[in-house]
């Protein structure tokens, strides 16, 4: 395997930055997320970022197109994405899996979401294996291999003081080619993941939920929920959006922005009818969507076990407890 010392990582990133706009997981302003690589950024390799990389592909607010409205006329103007290839370094398996979920939503079932596709096509990914899962991680229970990501162009392995690199796709081979001179060949093995703190058994949870729409557990589970959007906004797989516009006189900018099924307004209809009027229906929708509806529609879970929702929930409404409760329900 080709390896590099962690201490020399920045040399590699500097080389790659000549070719790509490189994004790295870094600490910033008392949180952490993927940001543009610069020599002085505080890269974190010992844990996953608090905010998922989903905004690289699906920004929280994304301008879609512009309009000029004068009297009765309305002219449309497209907005083009910034050009150039991006390279996302250090994406964990869970977050790579979430891109797989996003691909299903945005690229299949008859319509292609061009905004997403343009971004997705312009990003090359270097996935990074986890040596020690964080306490809130439970990816293995959701069928994600923390040592080998799906869909990565390059797989990187955490080897202690070194990082191993392996090209997976053609695009990945190109990346390795660029930095080959800075890597050394060593007989390293794919590492074993550390022990998971959360023990979760999600086997059969999707099937079990088939008959559980009316189950009393939803009353129970939802009581403490505050219906904030924290869990869905930090979730790498949540993809709901709203479409709206900013009007400045004649100039209108149409944008889309993240939305959440936790909010009441999300399903509010004309005439006051709301099919999901209380937190019970909203919480049920969130978990059903992740664990039942999505598997039904796309044949995969909409939860990668990244644990972010567990981390941010103000009331510790823990998805692993909910899974347990579902499995134990009569």
């Amino acid at each position: 395997m080709l390896v590099v010392l962690k201490a020399k990582l920045k040399d590699i990133l500097n080389t790659l930055a000549e070719e790509y706009k490189v994004l790295v997981p870094a600490k910033i302003e008392d949180t952490s997320k993927f940001i543009s690589y610069k020599d002085n950024v505080d890269i974190i390799l010992d844990e996953n970022v608090k905010l998922s990389p989903k905004d690289v592909f699906f920004p929280q607010t994304e301008k879609m197109y512009k309009m000029k409205t004068v009297k009765t006329s309305m002219e449309l103007e497209n907005i083009t994405d910034e050009a150039g290839k991006k390279l996302l370094f250090g994406v964990r398996s869970c977050d790579m899996k979430s891109l797989d979920c996003f691909d299903q939503v945005f690229l299949t079932k008859g319509y292609i979401d061009e905004f997403y596709k343009n971004k997705r096509d312009s990003v090359v990914t270097i996935a990074l294996s986890c040596s020690q899962p964080m306490q809130t991680c439970f990816c293995s229970a959701m069928g994600v291999d923390s040592q080998k990501a799906v869909g990565a162009d390059v797989q990187a392995y955490d080897l202690g003081d070194k990082i191993g690199l392996e090209a997976i796709s053609d695009e990945g081979s190109k990346v390795i080619e660029l930095i080959k001179g800075q890597l050394t060949e060593e007989g390293a093995e794919v590492p074993q993941p550390g022990e998971f703190y959360l023990k979760v058994d999600a086997d059969g949870v999707s099937e079990k939920l088939n008959g559980m729409f009316e189950s009393p557990i939803w009353d129970d589970v939802s009581k403490k929920c505050l219906n904030c959007g924290a869990c869905t906004y930090v979730c790498p797989t949540c993809h709901c959006f709203d479409i709206s516009q900013e009007v400045r006189g004649e100039n209108v900018t149409k944008y889309r922005c993240w939305d959440s099924c936790m909010f009441g307004e999300y399903t509010q209809m004309a005439g006051g009818h709301n099919p999901r009027p209380t937190k019970k229906e909203r919480v049920r929708n969130r978990f059903m969507h992740k664990l039942n509806y999505f598997p039904d529609r796309y044949n995969m879970l909409l939860c990668t076990g990244c644990g972010r929702c567990i981390n941010v929930c103000p009331v510790n409404l823990d998805i692993t407890s909910v899974i347990k409760q579902i499995k134990e329900a009569e």
């Binding site: 449309l76 939503v105 479409i243 939305d259 005439g271």
Partner: protein, 287 residues
């Protein structure tokens, strides 16, 4: 399976895969008909006088006014170079639309949704039941049947509104449709009213009273009307697969991406809005 492309949908699409589906075409309003005090029918073409898209009966379109917003509406009819939408003023966009005049430019995108199962309806006697603005989606199917009169059996319409003034598509109901061969139209209003010598009463009871039994029935209207009409239809012996209706959920994208119109694992914008009662029974009761 869609024959126009490899999109994998189970019905034909004519959308252009190079076109960004969330960006509308530039269209304009070419005609406005006042249906009732709060409902108007708008005819819409593209800026160069073409039909914006070629909708199947029951499909949907997203209409927008640049500085106000965008919303989804059933296409109630199509012509050579336009489509029609009947719009009730209930909120920001719809009220603003009611203020505009012929010539107004709009954004238009579509056609979305599955539409009515035409093959299934072919050759059969059809009963259309509608209430209020709920006739809008059904109208596209009625117009289709009239245009292709020989492909369908007897056509019957039962339609009701709160009062005479609330009846939509009056010209169709009283002038055009009664003249169509082998077609009956029954109209009712909720309460007695001066100058009305037609039937008085709610749609569900009128349906039971008339006790007609064509082969397939299409029911669209306010949820309450549907709720009370269904038991009657079942009593009349309709199978769940022969009762067809449309559902509404809040919508933003229209193409199965934004997530909000789901009922269980189905997206109403993509897998609907047309469902048979049998299909509806498989959905969670959350609409």
């Amino acid at each position: 399976m869609c024959e126009n492309c490899s999109c994998g949908n189970d019905h034909n699409h004519d959308h252009d895969h190079d076109q960004n589906v969330l960006i509308p075409q530039r269209g304009k309003i070419i005609n406005i008909v006042e249906e009732t005090s709060d409902t108007k029918t708008f005819s819409i073409s593209t800026i160069d006088d073409k039909k914006p898209f070629d909708p199947q009966p029951g499909q949907l379109g997203m209409l927008s006014l640049g500085n106000v917003g965008e919303a989804i509406f059933s296409v109630t009819n199509k012509g050579e170079n336009h489509i029609e939408m009947a719009i009730k003023a209930v909120g920001e966009l719809t009220n603003a639309l009611h203020e505009v005049e012929v010539g107004q430019e709009v954004g238009i995108r579509g056609a979305y949704g599955n539409g009515f199962p035409l093959d299934f309806c072919k050759g059969k006697d059809l009963l259309f039941i509608g209430g209020g603005i709920g006739l809008a989606p059904v109208r596209s199917l009625i117009m289709h049947c009239i245009r292709n009169r020989d492909d369908y059996g007897k056509l019957t319409v039962i339609y009701g509104a709160r009062s005479k003034a609330d009846l939509c598509f009056k010209e169709d109901l009283f002038e055009n449709w009664p003249k169509v061969p082998n077609m009956d139209v029954f109209v009712t209003i909720d309460r007695e009213e001066e100058g009305w010598d037609g039937h008085v009463g709610f749609v569900p009871s009128y349906v039971e009273e008339l006790a007609l039994k064509p082969q397939v029935t299409v029911v669209c209207g306010p949820p309450i009307m549907i709720k009370f009409t269904l038991p009657g239809l079942q009593k009349m012996g309709y199978a769940d697969t022969d009762i067809i209706t449309t559902l509404e959920m809040r919508m933003k994208c229209g193409v199965g991406k934004c997530g909000r119109c789901n009922i269980g694992s189905k997206y109403v914008c993509l897998d609907g809005p047309v469902f048979t009662l049998a299909e509806m029974k498989d959905l969670p009761q959350e609409y």
